[in-house]
Amino acid sequence: MALDRWIALIFIAFCCIYGYAAFFTMDQLLPPFMQRNPVWPSTFPKVLSVLGILVGLIVLFGLEKSAEQSEPSATDINYRRLHEYNLVQALSLLGLMVVYALALRPAGFLLATMVFLAGGSAILGERRWLTMLLVAAIASGAVWYLVQEVLGIFLRPLPFFLR
């Protein structure tokens, strides 16, 4: 089964859960005065879950004929060639983003950003450490200044132990 059909299957399952939540769990909580309304908070989700399941089934069973596939070019992206791609790099970068999200508050913006930018370059294979750190340091300083001073949005600059 092709990837797009697997996704349709997962989508149908998701719609079933969503529909279950809409049909059976939402209405009990509804205060009596709102029950007199023609539209309940669960009305729209109910419609959506049914529509979602229907469309999902159409995709799953391939009722709509797809267009002829042309030969993909070198710059196209194709999951069948996933093993030829830099999968490790991509996953490490995603991991780095998660680490950044978790570290942003405790470590402070400047440190977290520097590590993120330098680490990202390192994952991609950059080995000129000095240039890398310099670029990362200047960039994080500049962005912090822009966001904090020019845009006026507070970003905690320093790690927790220096605060």
Binding site: F11, V55, E64, K65, T75, I77
Partner: protein, 508 residues
Amino acid sequence: MLEGIMIGLSAAFSVQNLLMVVAGCLIGTFIGMLPGLGPMSIIAIMIPVAITLGDPTAALILLAGVYYGAIFGGSTSSILLNAPGVAGTVATSFDGYPMARKGQAGKALTIAAVSSFAGGTIGAILLAIFAPALSTVALLFHSAEYFALMVVGLSAIAAFAGTGQVAKALMMTILGLILATVGEGALFNMPRFTMGLMDLQSGISFITLAMAMFALPEAIFLVLNPARSASGAEGGGSGKITGLRFSREEGRAILPVIGRQSVQGFFIGVLPGAGATIASFLGYAVERNIASGKEQAEFGKGSVKGLAAPETANNAACTGSFVPLLTLGIPGSGTTAILLGALIALNVTPGPRLMVDEPDIFWAVIISMYIGNLVLLILNLPLIPYIAKILAIPRNYLIPFILFFTLMGAYIGQNNATELLLLVGLGVLATILRFADYPLAPLLIGFILGTMLENNFARSMQLYRGLDFIWERPMTLALLVLAVLLVLLPTYRARRARKRAEGVADGD
């Protein structure tokens, strides 16, 4: 209308707003040139900046400038590197890149800029004519018609998704609508589908979603497949760009092309779901078909007409896509959907009332589009050889920065680190969906229209105590029928075409 133009002129010609146009165009060109960052990602990144400006006119002008700049930047990388940053400029590379290979990069860029300018300008004039007229009609609309109109918009987006993609696009639209139900809506005072998480109480931020749907997957693709960005190495990125002039004959050749394509492109742009990509491909195809035999052979090998057609059409279509946004408050493309989100964040509700209540915003945007085109022509074009240096930035540095700006865009708006985790999660989902060839723009449009769709639906239901509004308002019924037809038509036509093809085969 003249009065409106005067209001717009006085608003747009303030020092601040002129600066916004120039800054927007430059930033847009700069980032739009980078492979993989299309106008949607750039606008999404710029939204926090625009929102902190506080003034909706200035913010919208900045974002419109960024939009134009990004399209122009996309054309530049199409011409110089054969690496279109945006789907709307793919057709530009058909003839633009061969011209650059022949050493006419400068001329190709000028023709692209001039055609974009003409397309955008004529588009802006058409917009100034049609938008007020449509607004007048739209003032008669009630929530029932709005509900129906949004259904039409959503089904049109699916219908124009292409052969074999209609059901997938519909699926993505529904997923977007489902995501929009998360959080505490304005209509009901209760949280829905938050799974008890405080961070989901206010719903998913549309900037986070936009970043996750467009910027992040592109960045991941750039990592996965270096060929996507490597084309810069062999191309003329570092080469000299000289000879910006084109000859009088060439000018005469592209003049009718510009005239035809700016009108055609504009009207394609007005249609929801069509937009710049379809306009540019169609423009290219039409011009090739009506060209004389000798010129036809030139197409694809560096024809000036083949370059001018998609460039004019995509800019005119971009302008056209503002018509439904400004008059109905319904976005027809991913980019205008993002702009709509930005407007709502700025407390401006686009729609027919916009022209009546806040004419200065409405007209300033139209005027600034014109100024934006002028800025691109006289300021950006001479700077292109320098701006193109950004293409020389090594990938090892570029990609972490793209990822970082994606993160910042999501973080600044919300000031919440959980948002970043949501961004990464949704980004992975979007990447998988892209691998499976699902279109993502419908998802974002569904998400942005979801709340409005539900509100208008609920309001009509309450007014008519049930579904009667469908039968009692002929306009609503007509629109809903149109929506159904739009979805069914491509399927029907594909089936008939197949039947006919089979019939021919049998006959032989």
